[in-house]
Amino acid sequence: MTERIGVYVCHCGTNIAGMVDVEGVAKWAAEKLNHRGVVIARDYKFMCSSLGQELIQKDIHELGLTRVVVAACSPHLHEQTFRNACKQAGLNPYLCELVSIREQVSWVHTDKAAATEKSKAVVSSGVERVIWNEPLEPIRVPIHPDSLVVGGGIAGIQAALEIADAGYHVYLVEREPSIGGHMAQFDKTFPTLDCSACILTPKMVQAGSHPNITLMTWSEVTQVDGYVGNFTVTIKQKPRYVNAELCTGCGICQEKCPKKVIDDVYEAGLGNRKVIYNPFPQAVPKYPVLDRPNCTYFNKGTCKACEKFCPTGAIDFNQTDEYFQVNVGNIILATGFDLFDPLRIPQYGYKRLANVYTSLEFERLCNAAGPTNGNIVLRDGVTIPKTVGIVHCVGSRDKNYNAYCSSICCMQSLKFAHLVHERTGAEVYNFYIDIRTPSKGYEEFYQRLLEEGTHFVRGKVAEVTTAARDPKEEGKLIIQVEDTLIGKQRRIPVDMVILSAGIEPRSDSKETAHLFGLSCSADGWMIERHPKLDPVATMTEGIYIAGCVQGPKDIPASVVQGAAAAARVLGKIQQKEIALEPIRASVDQDKCSGCRICNNLCPFNAILFHEDLMVSEVNPALCQGCGTCVAACPAGAISGTGFSNEQILAQMDGLLLHNIQALNV
């Protein structure tokens, strides 16, 4: 039985028609492919429009089409559109193919004749392939109503709260002893100058006490198995050495602990903490954590002051790693960012020159709960700076380090300038390339800083040095910079330098990507499903990304992405089951010889072997449709729906125009 195939060639305005003779291609298909089953071939300005879709639907009804080929843009854009149009007209959607003659032809070639010939070959390949298409039904899998949020910063907290408020259970896993993320380290937030902790801690408290949120801090995900709707996640909870059932959060253990160490996580190396500690007073949960590598008891067997003084006997030195396995339907990854390390730019003098600070260090300096009680002073702890230099774009917009713009540092630098003015009355110099203030209230904030008398120098700082050239520069940090607006080199002596370091993906982002089966770019940012239209989804169904893990962004954008990811998850949970593309492998057990070559090829462990029957079988729920086993089977016993050998070889025949050559013989 020959199929009745309809071919539709889209002009896409002039996007395709400008380079390809679309009418000619349609005519060619009607004439030359008629013997292959093409009963109608049309060209139309915009196939994806309602009128374009109606053309197809009308032909399905009136001409009894059994297959449809659309030659237009990329299947990644409109395959669903045309498949839905066919479905509405009563034709199984998988009997419709979209072949690209735009991204793959009209937009990339310059020779009209060659582009038209290639388009004919592409249409021919679509026709040959679609003959072999089978009517398929999507696979339905149930969605487990629990969710997992990885990362307890502002994006993760927002996501968890939205899902929990909607009535569904969430596991919120955080690597540090407390949730809060980087936002908990800041003093004020731009442009409103809200106190960061004041706006963050209410959300933290909500997340910590919400009946639908299981908070697991000091914990990490170690394994992820399964697929959308049915993930099995293994979470390792590291030992706090504090029994949460008994601890009241009184803080006596921290007072009595005799050993102080440098806090290089929360205090950015600027302050100290005890070995048993809460990272900050508003930590959620309130239970402290004992830092085992630095603990005198674990190193030498003595001390135990915390245990002695704990009024409820909550200290437990015998705790070990605990592993939990949880079932969830969806996962949101919100693991945040790391700061660019300015040690990589030695000419800026970080750590070599005392009064050069990173942005995070300066935040701690400004914070009233920080190591200097909010006083902006030099490293001696006493001297108030009289001039401060703020260097923008440290490690960003720089092809020697990171080419991208870190998005937040201009606003952060302006914020620092304001805080310095306010608290010290010092002269402030900002050294910038451009001032980037795109969001609401940002440009106005910049104007305010201009009115405050901040000095702006447009130029990339060449170096920060103490090598004085005249008496005025003695004892100061000298910033050497080209002031590009006046075209002169300048040397500006300051007391303190703040490096607005860029933000980078977490140092272990590649491992994280591998753990969750996601892709991250060469930079290390997680790759979203579509940069414009789908920034929170990933290529892996059921796993979403939110916040800086996807790319540099400010707090409002992180909150929005957390909420967006939560909305996607809630949408899935609400549907109770999800339809998956039925692209799967299946073993013809009559042909299978039991060689088991396929068994070890599957990274999803979807192939099982039946010892009694001596044949392999593919579990359609676990199979992701990659087709590796299909290619490997020596007996050709495994077929791949949607990408069968017949379909692919037919496509190739079409591309090489064998179907036309056969006519001439």
Binding site: E103, V108, H109, G640, L649, Q661
Partner: protein, 153 residues
């Protein structure tokens, strides 16, 4: 004057990385020669070496295999399997008398539209200078077409 030789090259792309790279090249309007005709697979691991042989025996002068970078395969590690097959296939082709340059492997991530376009351009130029493959088909010069099987009603 006879027409200059224009190679016909079949390219296999994977749905997640290299096909998106080709799309990106299109969106960015990067130009490359029209000699390559692409077939989309879900994964480079789907590539059966017989596809390559069929392409070359069917009239293609070269075959391009593309996929995600090792370590970044959407299906975790299937591009390594594609790599293994490619290496063995290349040796086999050489033993059959086919120049190794006629089989090319390019790893391209979804962001590397420019790179994919330039690799395609390089390949086309190389094959143009190498000349047509002229793989002998059947004895009477007929080209076989892959007929769909009759499906009982």
């Amino acid at each position: 004057m006879s027409e200059p030789f224009e190679p016909v090259i079949i390219g296999f792309t994977c749905n997640w990385c290299s096909y998106r790279a080709a799309d990106l090249a299109g969106t960015a309007r990067i130009k490359y020669p029209p000699n390559v005709r692409l077939i989309r697979l879900m994964c480079s691991g789907r590539l059966d070496p017989t596809f390559v042989l069929k392409a070359l025996s069917g009239g293609a002068d070269a075959v391009l295999i593309t996929g995600c970078h090792p370590g970044e395969c959407h299906y975790i590690e299937q591009n390594y399997k594609a790599l293994r097959r490619y290496l063995l296939l290349r040796r086999t082709l050489v033993q059959m008398g086919v120049e190794p340059q006629r089989l090319k492997l390019v790893w391209a991530s979804a962001a590397e539209g420019v790179r994919l376009a330039s690799e395609i351009t390089k390949l086309v130029e190389e094959i143009r200078s190498l000349g047509p493959l002229n793989w002998p088909t059947s004895t009477n010069g007929q080209v076989e077409i892959f007929e769909p099987l009759e499906v009982p009603a």
